[in-house]
Structure formats: structure tokens, C-alpha cells
Assembly symmetry: C2
DNA sequence: TTGTAAGCGTTATCAC
DNA sequence: GTGATAACGCTTACAA
């Protein structure tokens, strides 16, 4: 394996010059560069990146912490991160945390040991205080997270407003008993979506009926179970807002299981607009999150930090969109109730 | 940032001893180890992995080349790889190739520049000849691939047999005009599934009617379009075998669009058993591929290579399974046709 | 069991 | 514009 000194010898120059040709070609005379290039060619020389990284104490690698890459939502975000990273010559190290706080925290070792230049955390579970400590020492960015103290850049949508929009849509369709299957309420983004739901209900004078509220965990199964429970009680909803598409689909299947038709008997609005939402039967009305763009944006912010640029704005809210399909019944219904 | 020499000084030993404590603790007297450990603790010392990797010319990192991480199939496999890798102290570098041969080939640079110790390629597009060249120089393993010359370990299912099983299932249900929407036939695994279909048809004396064959590209859209075309011609199928679940779902939606009911008017069998298959309406009968395990197995094989163990068996076929749900009509039908 | 010291291949700081 | 040369922080013969 040819090394830089071999190239230098063959080209009749010093290693310093070879290094310059590689990393700063303008600083060297064209004739010299040509000689070096030829020697590189001839020897099939490839720089030893390990030596380079060691010498420069940088890796051009960033770490992405994902609760679970098998979840389509995170896979989409990672796709966006990867695209932006590779455009800028960065590589992406992937780590599943399986929602384990310990695994999240343990990954900080990668930063401490200089194995990566920075980190993006998706839906972090870690205490904010700890994240702040890490952020003081290393470049990190969060995605699909919401922080009280805004000292770490994070990328998200306006979850409260989105929850409000989804609920309001059902209200405009004339529904009064609207159920909510939220995400885990210890997660700020779940809390916010739920807050949006409450606010819309209260604003429109419908009040919040605790019997119509369930706390799910974003999974299909939890949507199915909570909907089954909602439909088996006396006070049944005519509509439901589910805080994830997986739960929304679970809810619809649960309704079908007891012969309730969607949207005729039950209107459903989901959240996320996963690829499957439009393929499902009925196609899902849902809040579309720009996952891919969120990934790109998170990487953009991290790049700024890595380049030493100041990042002043901490809350980066991307715009979501209510995508109206069949599951809410809006298309079947001729007239929208005037509010 | 404390370095090894600082620890050595504080502990009153040489750096060699500190290094031993870190990598080979049995080789050092307990008392000395204790002193060193305390110094490490006190200085909050973290080894500089870049220096370590450089010195040892190894990175404990492997590269995973994925056509597109946003595709659930690949995300599942990557999940399996990551799990196995992290258990063995390896890290996973992720790269989307976007199905570009160039990007695939370019990634070999990572190996040449020693940025990773080995590589797993998912559904590689590269010529076999090139892959062999790479494999001669670096440890690589393939997944969801099929090779003629078996000199590179690869993990897959028996695609031909699976195609056969899926088709035979439809034949047993009494269907005679069974359509096939294949994957891209330049991919060996698509070709094999298609071969399985043909063989089943011929074996049961049904022959192969070219008017019932379409070449798709695994996407929902292609399934939708090809099914629309199949249903608009005179010779209509009563059943269809689609080489991916995405295409199967596209086919079902296309059938619904022209008021054909599944499974009553059209029986459908898909392929992959993506998470969504069981959530869909109707739930999909499909060939379940063990994606997560395929990822794990691929990583196991790579680990062997990395540890210098001989890998003799090249074809690693994992077992798939025909999962019978609603879309094929088996559950509605009382009697299965005796063959 | 421990210490000494020579690298690993690159980059950066000086001179020239 | 180019060349010497000293790091970078760790590992590993080899010596003690």
C-alpha cells in the first residue's frame, strides 16, 4: 500500500508538497502538481484517512441517534440527514437506542473519544439538563423534540398548532364527541398535540370529556386497543384524532372489527403522513410532517455548528400540512358546518 | 483533555502500562492496575480513539450500503445489522446509494482509505465481476442478492421456491388465470421469483400466458398501473402474484378503483410481509422474509471474515414463510381444490 | 511485571 | 513555492 512518502519520492518532492497537492492545490505550482498527480496515479495512492483524521482530530463523521431505525418515521428523517451529510462530505454513523436512556447517554462516549464530530438526536429521551451539558461541550442538534430552555438547536413542527388543526377540522365537519388518542404524555411533543386538541375543543365550546381521552404509545396496537375501549363504552365518539398514523390505522381496524364504518360511522384524523397513509383503505386524512426536510434541516444546523458558525435561532419549526383524504369524511360530506 | 501520558505520570507508571490496563488488564499486577484506574478516574481520561484506530489500522466500523433507507425493507435489514454490530462492539456507517451504480462503486473508497473494516451491500447493482475484485481485497458480505459465482458470502431466501409457493397457493385455491407482476427482471432475485411462478404454472398444466405477465419495479405505483392494465384487457386474471407487498397493495387499490373486490373477484398474494401487510385492509397474504434476521446473519458472516475465520459456505438461505391472511381468499373458501 | 522507545502516515510550522 | 521536521496519542516489540 503506497503511502505519501512513496509518492513524494517518486515525484521528487517532499511529503509536505504531496499533502498540499491533496488538500490545497492552489498553493503549489502547476508543474509540481502535475508531477505529483502522476506519481499518485502511477502508485495508485490513496490517502490513509485514519492518519489524517488522527492528525487533524476530526472525522467528517456525525452520529445519528435513532430510537429505532425500523420505524418509518425515523428512517425518513435519517434519509434526509444522510442526503445533506453526503453532499457536504460527511458520513453518517447510525445508532439505535431502542428508547433506552442508557444507550442514549452511552453514545456520548463517541463524542468524548472524538470518534465523531457531532451528533443529531432524534426524539431524545434524555433529561434536558444532561443534554445541555453535552451541548456545551460538543456540537449537537435535536430533531422531533421540544425543549423548554432553548439553548440547543432543535427541528420540529408546531405540534400544538397541528393538534389544534386536526381537531378543528373534525369540529368543522360537525362532530361534537371527538376522541383523542394521544402519544405518551411524558414526551413534550405528545403533550403539545394533546394541548392543541384540548384547546380546539374548548375554543369551540365543546369542552373536554375525559371519557374520550386515551394515552397511547404511537403504535398500531395501542390505537387498536384504545379504540376498542372507546367504542365499548356508553359515551361513544363519532370522531377520533390519533397522534400517529399507526394509531389511526389501529383505530380504524378496531372500528371495522365491530362493524363501524370509517368515515360514515367514525371520522378519523391521523398524524405523520407516513408513506402508507395514502395507500391505506380508506386513505388517511392526516397531518403531514416533512420528515425528510427535518432531517436535512437538522444536518444543516449541525454543519453550521461544525463550521464554527453561530447558531442563534434555536427553535426551527417547519411547516406541516393537513392532508385531507377519505378517513375524515370531508369528501363525502357536502356541506361544512359554519362555525 | 487528558492523554495517556498524563495518566501515566499521575499513576507513576509508563504509558505502556496504562495501555495494558486498558486493553489487556490481566497482563498487569492488580496493584498497578488499581493505581492506573484511579488516575484515569481522577483525570476523567478517555482514550483518543482516532489515535488508537490509526495505530492499529482498524476502525471497528463497518459500512452498510443501502439503496434507500426510507424503504422499510432496507430499514428492517439495517436494524438487524445494527443490533448484531453493536453487540460486538462495531459501529455502523450508513450510505444511501439511491440505486446508483456509481455511488455504490464510489463507496469502495471507504474501504481503500481504511475508513471502515468491512462492508455489507444490500441489493447491490454492481457487476458481479467488480464485486469479486473488491471481495478479494476487502471483507464484504451481500444481503438480498443472488450470485452465480459463489465466492462472496450472501444472505437471501430461496426466491425461486418462494415464488413457486405463492403461485401454488393460488392454484390450490382453484385459480387458473393467475397474473404475475414481477420485479425488475435484471435483478436476479426478481428473475428467480418469476421463475418460481412460471414453474408452478407449468407444473400444474396451466401454462404461462404472456398476457398475464407484467414487469414492475417493486413500487406501489407500478403495482397500481400494471393491475389497471391487466384488468382493462380482455383476458382478465382472477388472481395475481405480486413480487412485493407495495405492488400487491397497489394492485388491490387498482382493483378497488374499478369495483373489483379482493379477494372475492381477485385473489392477491404479495411478497415481503412488511409491517403494513397485516394492518392493511384486507390483510395481505404474503411471503414473509426474515429481514431483521437477514441483517443479523449478514453481520455475523462479516464478523467472521473480520476475525479472520474462514467462511466456506457462501449461500446463506434463510427460511421464508407463506403467511395466509385475507387477500387470497383462502379463509373465505371452504374447500381447497385437490390437485 | 514493567519500562523504553520506535514507529503508524499525515499535517503544520517553520525556514529557506 | 517548497522542504525539513516535529508533532498528533497510541500500541507493541524488545529489553530489563
Amino acid at each position: 500500500m503506497a503511502k505519501m512518502s512513496d509518492v513524494a519520492k517518486l515525484a521528487g518532492v517532499s511529503t509536505a508538497t504531496v499533502s498540499r497537492v491533496l488538500r490545497n492545490p492552489e498553493a503549489v505550482k502547476p508543474v509540481t502538481k502535475a508531477k505529483v498527480d502522476q506519481a499518485i496515479e502511477q502508485l495508485n495512492y490513496e490517502p490513509n484517512m485514519l492518519a489524517r483524521h488522527f492528525r487533524r482530530t476530526e472525522t467528517n463523521t456525525i452520529l445519528v441517534l435513532v430510537p429505532n431505525i425500523r420505524n418509518t418515521v425515523f428512517a425518513e428523517i435519517v434519509g434526509g440527514i444522510e442526503e445533506e451529510a453526503s453532499v457536504h462530505g460527511y458520513r453518517v454513523l447510525l445508532r439505535n437506542t431502542n428508547n433506552q436512556f442508557g444507550s442514549e447517554y452511552g453514545s456520548v462516549e463517541h463524542l468524548k473519544q472524538r470518534q465523531v464530530d457531532g451528533m443529531i438526536m432524534l426524539s431524545p429521551k434524555m433529561e434536558e439538563r444532561l443534554m445541555l451539558e453535552i451541548s456545551n461541550e460538543f456540537p449537537i442538534v435535536l430533531a422531533t423534540a421540544h425543549l423548554a430552555s432553548s439553548n440547543i438547536p432543535f427541528v420540529s413542527i408546531d405540534n400544538k398548532k397541528s393538534g389544534w388543526k386536526a381537531t378543528e377540522h373534525l369540529i368543522r365537519l360537525g362532530h361534537k364527541r371527538i376522541a383523542c388518542i394521544s402519544g405518551p404524555l411524558r414526551m413534550p411533543l405528545s403533550e403539545l398535540r394533546y394541548e392543541g386538541y384540548r384547546q380546539a375543543m374548548i375554543e369551540h365550546g365543546l369542552g373536554v370529556d375525559e371519557r374520550l381521552i386515551r394515552e397511547g404509545d404511537f403504535t398500531y396496537e395501542s390505537g387498536y386497543e384504545h379504540m376498542t375501549s372507546l367504542l365499548s363504552q356508553a359515551e361513544r365518539p363519532t370522531a377520533v384524532f390519533a397522534a400517529s398514523d399507526d394509531m389511526a390505522i389501529g383505530a380504524i381496524n378496531a372500528a371495522s372489527a365491530v362493524e363501524w364504518k370509517v368515515p360514515e360511522d367514525l371520522a378519523v384524523v391521523g398524524f405523520d403522513n407516513i408513506q402508507f397513509a395514502s395507500m391505506y383503505n380508506p386513505p388517511l386524512t392526516t397531518i403531514a410532517q416533512p420528515f425528510f426536510d427535518m432531517g436535512k434541516r437538522a444536518m444543516e444546523l449541525l454543519l453550521k455548528k461544525l463550521n464554527g458558525e453561530e447558531v442563534t435561532k434555536m427553535e426551527h419549526l417547519l411547516s406541516d400540512e393537513l392532508v385531507i383524504r377519505e378517513s375524515c369524511g370531508a369528501k363525502q360530506q357536502k356541506k361544512v358546518v359554519p362555525l
